[in-house]
Symmetry: C2
Subunit: 472 residues, 2 copies
């Protein structure tokens, strides 16, 4: 049996403390003297590497290429688009000195790179032949947050930002939704996170966007995590930057733009969706190691058996790690649970004599004993089943915490419970401010574009069905 | 025939201008309003991605794992190791404001991350069981350079930095040389760049290192490019940071440290080693696309033939791109030469009628006509031959520009020629300063650790054979 490890608070007792404990105990991050930033340790970074490799492939398959823009933005460049600068200037880090010299113009560390891409696009877009431009960038951005939490809110964020330019508005809108779909599929198929996707409210959209779409996940505690966004910019930035192209009829036109991004915050989402009081639980399709092998004892026969299993896993392309440290089996089992390896293979001398091994599935902690020569076959069988089961479990829990309110009184009553509330809504900022003030909830994303019915908050004509909820 | 493109100066007329022209014409980089930084465009970034994927695999195969440290370093943390801060403080970018608030303590953007790793190691290293620690980081660093050139010297640099900790000095020294070897093999097998590897002089070693080893390439113009470095730190940083571990005998010891790194500068080295007056020449093993297919004309039969070739290349794992733009064939051939695709397949209606295609090898511009069903086989044959030939060509040129001097007069005479000069040397800083002042040359790396003979500069006992040369 796995020894109970100290140091993880129960998630039903104190969810915030549980999260911090899991992140720390699973060796995902550490702190340093750099306030508000985190060190992503090897195991945490391996999860990010896996996310990057899958997403990068999906981006390339949809025609995108990677580039690298400068990390700094001169103040005058940040100022070109008015709404954008108002949204970001209050939370940027300013570089004012290079070595001993004061800079003529201060520069911020990019909080996002729209203006850098636009300046470049102004130079490289001349003709309709140059469009579409489908660029993506993997990099680090900085936003000077006051309160930070590992993965969820940090001064430095590892992310990707797609920036595309199109000849027509239709094409740009299609791109916005295409990338939203890529995020949705990724989160479902790899992270096993059920998500809601829809349009953000006027109040919650990105500074400078005409429309923002988001991927909204609900954590174990009923609180929302915005896990990715995709923006349709229309011609706003393009006009501010004077970007024009000659169309097929030899006339000048302004192109249409999108941007879309996701961050290391998804690691936080992964934890708060699936993990438990024993530590991390990682879906097989995103786990850095899908299997941990724990040999109990030391002898030649055991070593040979482990080698056989390794060979079998290699052949099947199943990733694994081996813990043959000199710690007690109970300690190593517990450690394997903290780390969230999807399947644990326990293999002792007595098992070997009986020709069997024990497999433990991390999500259910279910144990099965199987003949040793069937171990790999059984692991291969478990992994997709577990992936699917984790998704379903999270989906059922999430669905059970989505309510619909027909009146504002009902809304206020439901708002005391964890979860989301769906209502007919007019979309007005005043309405949203009132809800925030009286219940603490914010709009998440549209459940449906819907023009019938009346707004549950103010009684005006509804323009959509909207989810509301608390957020990280 | 390839149309002669405008815009590339001959490399024998003006090497510096030629370099700038190639970098720009091949769409590798662009400039922005961020002085001293570059935009790495898709084709340039694709070369870097290829480098990263190969090196990352080599690092992992030698037991290393990736992590991510903060991007900022508080001033007090940078100040912990004295030699280190003296080496770097004059060239860092300082962040002094977060949003509207002045920071209590200013922070620099990392110029390198030794101090961040050491602060972390102090926390995670307790026992000999925690060693060795074999970490690597892929990130961007900033050094406030006055004069910059794309890839060669830039305020922002994309790089990797390995930082390792070991229980014994022997093990750390082995690691230093192991990673030096990894760089050497990578540069030979992938970049087709012949390199010299050896120890740096006292004057030229890294700020804070006991020993620095480097990988020195010689460019077409005889000037050196330091393409990677590997440092043995001994216990210097570890003592400054108070890092200690309990050894097997239960006694406290200080561990031994290394670091090693390489940067986007290698792209500059790739260009200045192989490229010519027609543009880039990329070795097949690092080219983002190993083949470009150029169909001439438009018809169903041609399209089918192109599809056949694509299928064949896919089957062989050979990467390719297709240029079927409406530009003239001559223009497209020239464009393919600028981009440096290793093999160009030209395929026209008349060729098709004769059942043949034309293959053009980029390094020699040699043309062969082959039966269409042998096209892929022939490409497969050419690629490794071309890789080897590019290396050999560069090696022979380089070897022809390495001289040996027996007297200082001979040294001064030879220093007027492009290339390196090998001498017996005492290793003294005074000696190196004198050479720099009188000839403009700096020490590159040791050719041999050699205690016999006398220093060619000052006549004292020699401690090594050293290469001298001009540098980028």
């Amino acid at each position: 049996m796995a020894k109970k490890l100290e140091g993880i608070t129960s998630r039903d007792v104190d969810f915030a403390q549980w999260y911090t404990d899991v992140v720390k105990r699973a060796d995902l991050v550490d702190y340093s003297s750099v306030k508000g930033s985190m060190i992503i340790r090897p195991y945490g970074y391996a999860i990010w590497e896996k996310m990057v490799s899958v997403l990068d492939k999906m981006f390339k398959e949809t025609g995108h290429v990677n580039v690298q823009m400068p990390m700094f933005i001169p103040e005058s460049l940040l100022n070109v688009e008015k709404e954008h600068v108002e949204g970001f200037a209050p939370e940027v880090a300013w570089v004012t000195y290079g070595g001993k010299e004061k800079l003529d113009e201060r520069m911020c560390v990019r909080p996002t790179s729209e203006v850098l891409f636009c300046e470049h696009y102004k130079k490289i877009i001349k003709s309709y032949r140059d469009l579409p431009i489908l660029y993506n960038q993997w990099c680090t951005i900085v936003r000077w947050e006051k309160t930070t939490r590992p993965f969820l809110r940090s001064r430095e964020i590892l992310w990707q930002e797609g920036h595309t330019m199109h000849a027509t508005s239709e094409e740009a809108r299609e791109e916005t939704l295409r990338m939203l779909k890529v995020y949705e599929i990724f989160q479902k198929n790899y992270l096993a996170i059920p998500v809601l996707v829809g349009r953000k409210s006027e109040k919650e959209k990105f500074a400078g966007a005409l429309e923002t779409y988001s991927v909204e996940a609900m954590m174990y505690d009923g609180v929302a995590l915005q896990n990715a966004t995709s923006h349709y910019f229309g011609q706003g930035f393009a006009k501010a930057f004077g970007i024009e192209f000659v169309n097929k009829d030899n006339k000048l036109e302004t192109p249409y733009q999108t941007s879309w991004g996701c961050t290391t915050r998804m690691i936080g989402g992964l934890i708060m969706t699936h993990s438990d009081d024993n530590g991390l639980v990682l879906p097989p399709n995103i786990a850095p190691y899908q299997v941990v092998i724990i040999p109990i004892g030391e002898d030649e026969e055991l070593k040979k058996a482990v080698d056989e299993i390794r060979k079998g896993l290699d052949n099947e392309g199943i990733t694994y790690t081996i813990d043959n440290s000199d710690k007690t089996p109970g300690f190593r089992f517990a450690e394997a649970e903290v780390k969230g390896y999807p399947v644990r293979i326990e293999l002792g001398k007595r098992d070997l004599d009986n020709g069997v091994v024990t497999l433990v599935r991390r999500d259910t902690l279910e144990k099965v004993t199987v003949p040793i020569d069937l171990a790999v076959t059984k692991v291969k069988e478990i992994l997709p089943v577990m992936q699917e089961a984790m998704y379903e479990k999270a989906r059922i829990r999430r669905d059970g915490m989505i309510y619909e309110a027909k009146t504002y009184d009902e809304f206020k009553e439901l708002s005391k419970k964890p979860g989301f509330i769906k209502i007919n809504w007019c979309g007005a900022k005043d309405c949203e401010n009132k809800v925030k003030e009286e219940t603490g909830l914010k709009s998440r994303c549209t459940a449906q574009e819907d023009h019938s019915g009346k707004c549950v908050i103010c009684g005006a004509d509804a323009t959509c069905k909207m989810y509301f909820g608390r957020q990280y």
